[in-house]
Amino acid sequence: MPEDDTKIRSRAEQGERTRAGAGAGCHQPPPERPPRLTLEEARRRLQAGRGPRYWRALEELTADPEWLNLLEREFPRSASVWTGDRRNFIELMAASLALAGLTGCTRLPSERIVPYVIQPQRVTPGEPLFFATNIPVGGYAQPSLARSNDGRPTKIEGNPQHPFSQGGTSIFQQAELLTMYDPDRSQNIAEYGEVRSWAEFLTRLSQMPELQPGSRGNGLRLLTGNMTSPTLIWQIQNLLNKYPEARWHSWEPVSRDAVRLGTQMAFGRPLDVHYQFGRADIVLSLDGDFLAPEAGPGFLRYARDYAARRKMQNTSAQQPLSRMYMAESGCSLTGANADQRQPMRYTEIELLARGLAAQLGVAGAGGGGSLPGDPGWRAALLRDLEAHRGRSLVVAGEYQTPAVQALAHAMNQALGNAGQTVTYSEPVEALPAGVAEQRQSLLDLVNDMQAGKVTLLVIFGQNPVYSAPVDVPFAEALSRVRTRIHHGLYADETAAACDWHIPESHALEAWGDCRSADGSTGIIQPLIAPLYDSHSAWEMLAALGGPQQASGYELLRMYWAAKLGFNPAAIAPNVDSTAANSAPPPNPQTPVRPLGSLGQREPAAFEEAWETALYNGFFANSAAPAVNAAPRALQLPPPPASSAIEVVFRPDPTVYDGRYNNNGWLQELPKPVTKLTWDNAAIAGVGLSQQYKFSSEEIVEINAGGRALQLPAWVQPGHPNGTVTVTLGYGRRRTGRTGVGRGFDLYALRTSQQPWGGVGISVRPQRHPYPLAKTHSHFQMEGRDLAKSATLEEYQSDQHFAEPEPPPQPPRWMTLYPGFTYPDYAWAMSIDLNSCIGCSACVLGCQSENNIPVVGKLEVQRGREMHWLRIDRYYKGDYDNPETLFQPIPCMQCEDAPCELVCPVGATVHSSEGLNDMVYNRCVGTRYCSNNCPYKVRRFNFFHYADYDHLPSLAAMQNPDVTVRSRGVMEKCTYCVQRIMAARVRAELENRTVRDGEITPACAAACPTQAIVFGDKNNKQSRVSQQREDARTYHLLEELGTRPRTSYMAKVTNPNPALLESLNGPQSDSQVEAEEERHG
């Protein structure tokens, strides 16, 4: 769309004088801009309290011209696509007007209705059904309810009845829907790239010498990822029993080796650790990113429990607001939520852990020498921990060293927390026998491959050619294997290096089972027949070890029948179950407790148990029971040597280890802390960037132990200055069209010895730019205090701290807004900033529910991402260690809405219940509404982003209850009006009013911490009404008189009062000014 400013720019370039009248009003002088500052000047202004109280980015502090440009123009580069002149423009407009008219000259189309031949029970055409299932992410089950619209899965939500997640979701879990429909998934069985059938594959398998009857399986190897499926473990054991020489290897790039080794060190055997944040008053996290979905399988539960202790409504004298201390080597989501955060190097975390442990009386902790971090912080922390014995909790990061894990366990023992705030269980995940860590399992495999001992290798769902550590020559060793079979969702790097590739069925397409982090076991229930010629891991293993004719469903039922004490032969009569019978009773490390009520062992009773588990999504009481872990005397390895600059590896917050690289939703989801999309970067602190003189979006070279990689830098406020954080998962060479070639492959620097960091690196700036697509500058609301926070003390002295001074309101009769009344319902939303952890599950939930398209990196750079709900990130305080606030911004659904008044075609209008309805068919795309929206929540379809005409699988994914928008149409958050209407119709049919809590918008349903509450504000008993009455509640830009329906509850942080004075001691204005004068 051409805009006036383009016109002006092109004229100015031609040196042409604008005639009076044409383009008048565009000739204003540029607005006064504040002078550009250096970072140091900005810091002094901050300290003096003269800078912004809350800020979004370093560029804002320094008044960067580009930043100001973005601020002044809402669609900063919307004009940049246009290259024509005025005449051209008018011609095109005339033509498009004529064509637009012509499209109206068609008759209504003809449609077919195709009813069933025999209609299945429970199916009503057009009405959605929900199925309980489990989506494995990194091997661990994420309990889900999947929605099926006429047989098409269209949404993944949380399972509220599941004891582990209680209804929360993670971004990965929800985005698996797009992965299933991904048109770039591999679609055919292939031998050297040529299409083969499953029967041909089975024939070829039967010719393998390793699999002949009587063979001992010499040379047969399996490589799987994290393994929690009881049935798969049973099948693998069967296979190994049948072929005693065969071996199983287990390896994933994001493994929990450190947890296993840490418990081994502390208790003498590998255990799983379960934190009980609900009981912890004081939390110390040692690089433990428990609030991030990519950093450990416990996320859903931990986020829920932690946030419950942060809600002011839940606090009482017995249960005070919890306080979190964190020492971290990067900028994690958990660090952003911590009350008292200390950035430090990766290796310093261990030194700190040793020192703290020694002071808490842990024998053998070492801990001599000077400790990293602020001494006051350490002292306050120790005081708090000592004062809360049994109610404190030390969390070790899954990506820290085993020593840190062991020290955390020892500290929890010393503080009496074991059994209270932390419990232990047998590991949920299974490892090959005799192996303590996955790293060793991979090294064994590679050694054997190099020695020529492996002749038939089957790789299940992993991509080691891409993701193996750089010092493990996996690809080279793989070439020495006679027959290589790859089973996976994509024809990826490993598939290209294998002889056979078998497409893997997605979790929504095949039967299976897996366990959540707490051990709860659930069935993976398919919602749709496989879209392509694909097979599940269960079927693959059956093809290798038998019984070959069994389907995944039969295998699963055979296993569970045996497990629950029934005769498998009676359950699956068509299958030769001798293989199952001959096997020893399945014995994964933590057995599922038999269902107590099942006295008789009849097939009918099994059906009942099976149906119940299917319906619920889990087997009752299947969580891993807590075990008593007896601590051992600590024998720690020597402390690590710190380097001047260390690298820290993390799974990427959105593409994880690379498996979601082709997922457009996740690629475009702003990474919660950095707000980058579509790329990874070397994340560094301000100090480091000043020392080495590089800035954001400039290429730097990182050299780790002789291996160098060039990638763009990103300067992140609060990042420790001794480390550079890099995320894995980018730089893919073979995947789908969305992911190939994006970002930089950090596996090229990652070694098996130090998989998560601590390696000394050198940094060399390269000084050439690499533009990143970052969203932290988009949709700003300029300089006002929009996110609000106070410390607990401030809150206790003034509960109404968030309420602004009453703005001078003109008398009501003066308003030009029509005075609407809302006699029936008045929908409203309340967002508790105290429980929002910034995980972005809501953004993805909204995207999935409302058919929001993906626009691509270039369009994001132009500020055109389409997310209806965004999460603004604000900083408060000094940029070396600022306080971080996350604020989700949906549409405010103003009662006096500025957008509605300016629409020339009535495309956005007020509903009787107070929603600002958007009528796509009326919209002609003037974008006046967006210009007039003070909250910047409206999104415009600059192109036909939702063009699925030649991507039929993506068309099938769309939610049929929401219109798919076309080009030239404005759209925005509707409060999920389709869900409101569905609930209202249901209530009307039952002759009642809508109950409180009956409507859950997609964002609120997705939220793992229940930060979003929705309801009727006319109903004074509703939760949303009560939250709106809360002292902390405030509205955004209330002074504009828009009367928003979305309200916020200001954040209350809980820093240690003793530390507040010493750290952020107030500096008087005069001091700063004197200093400023001295400088210049």
Binding site: S110, V114, P115, V117, I118, E127, V909, L915, T963
Partner: protein, 219 residues
């Protein structure tokens, strides 16, 4: 130099201008009429169906209730089209050799569904629900006309937005007692407006402001 155009040309230039204005108005008016016509809305048009199913025979003649085939009309958005099995409930016994019913039998034999042509078409951006209309006392006839007299199914009403709004603005003109919703012989009583207003209260029909809010039908 002599004038190129004589005085007569004034007439032509004036009539051209007038003609353009008039022509434009006529064009708009014609476009509007076409848009509003039965030709455009495909009202009264008989679609070619795989089987010439007669509602007149089954409903008017045999007296089969609407809900025998349209099973989900009271509980779902879509009234439901009968699966082949429903046809075969009777036609396995009667007319089971009729050549006209061969497609039905073939469907049941082969498991391939019948592909009917949709008669009452609403665009995809309209989210219409049958269940709520039935519950509020809108008779089948009100929108579908005298189906019991249609030998071949046709769209009886224009189904334009203006036509929808007619009722959403003043439902009392159309509502009937719930017991009469499926009655094909129902006759509008003389005191319809009074009855309609009573029914609106009794069935808790929402006020016209809510019924005409855009998001009631468009999302």
């Amino acid at each position: 130099m002599p004038q190129v155009f004589g005085r007569y040309s004034n007439f032509w230039s004036r009539s051209t201008v007038a003609g353009l204005v008039l022509g434009f108005c006529l064009f708009v008016a014609a476009a509007y009429r076409i848009q509003d016509s039965a030709y455009y809305s495909r009202q009264y048009e008989v679609r070619h169906q795989p089987v010439p199913f007669s509602h007149a025979h089954h409903v008017g003649g045999l007296g089969i209730d609407c809900r025998y085939c349209h099973t989900s009309v009271e509980t779902a958005a879509f009234a439901g089209l009968p699966p082949t099995k429903t046809c075969m409930n009777c036609h396995v016994e009667i007319w089971n050799r009729s050549p006209m019913l061969e497609p039905v039998r073939a469907s049941f034999r082969t498991g391939r569904p019948l592909r009917w042509m949709r008669v009452n078409y609403l665009p995809d951006f309209v989210y219409f629900r049958h269940d709520i209309h039935i519950a509020k006392g809108v008779g089948c006839q009100t929108c579908h006309g005298h189906v019991d007299r249609m030998a071949l199914m046709e769209q009886a009403k224009p189904l334009t937005m203006r036509w929808c709004l007619d009722c959403h603005r003043a439902p009392f003109n159309y509502l009937r007692p719930r017991a009469q919703v499926f009655n094909t012989e129902y006759i509008r009583p003389p005191n319809q407006v009074r009855l309609g207003k009573q029914l609106m209260k009794r069935y808790h029909v929402l006020d016209p402001r809510t019924l005409t809010s855009c998001s009631t039908c468009h999302r």
